[in-house]
Amino acid sequence: MFLLLPFIIWLFDTSVSSEISFGKFKAAFSVGVWGLPGFFIKLITLGLIWAFLHHLIAGLRHLYMDATHSVTKEFGKSSAITVLILSIGLTVVLGAKLFGLY
């Protein structure tokens, strides 16, 4: 996420700046951009979505543990598994949308 920050800002830039740049934004995901095919751009984006979701949900786990002092070994393990299941599950749903399965 740190190294791909410029790619994220590029997506923001092209998608909001103008109708023409919005066209470029859409084209990046279909015909591709920078010599990379569209499906590869989608794959990178999906990787970023997963990283973000995992980080977000793991962060909520931290906040929950801070607030309720749930720091037992058992809760640590079960909540870590919950984070994995939720983040991968949501990523699969969004990935199916991104690749046009529904």
Partner: protein, 121 residues
């Protein structure tokens, strides 16, 4: 165990205790809030979202200001996180200093670009 508090405290790294802990959570909450607000608008917009509807999400003054604050929060959040990685895993001072400076320059450049995009909307 050796004493590592009071006048005997070994001082390494940066900002012990509450400040970074709290900053990391407050900035995270702001990022989560913006994510929720943008997702909410996408989900409750009827019809296909083309350029107009997408750009309109960010062009109002309230969303512009919230997005601006979130960009700054994100940059600070990433700085604390990356700095912690360098402090935990990179022991040679020279390499650590280089990576820390690189991180700062990288993040400032990214913040400048993101704010530039936001401000010409």
């Amino acid at each position: 165990m050796s004493v590592n508090f009071g006048s005997k405290r070994i001082v390494v790294g940066a900002h012990y205790g509450l400040r970074d802990w709290l900053a990391q959570r407050v900035t995270a909450a702001l990022i989560a809030l913006l994510t929720a607000v943008v997702l909410f608008q996408i989900i409750f917009t009827s019809g296909e979202i083309g350029y107009d509807k997408w750009a309109a999400i960010f062009s109002g003054q309230f969303m512009k200001s919230l997005t601006f604050a979130t960009i700054l929060a994100l940059i600070y959040h990433v700085w604390v996180g990356m700095r912690d990685i360098w402090m935990d895993y990179i022991k040679p001072t020279g390499i650590r200093l280089f990576l820390q400076i690189f991180t700062i320059v990288w993040l400032l450049a990214c913040a400048g670009w993101a704010i530039q995009v936001l401000w010409r909307l």
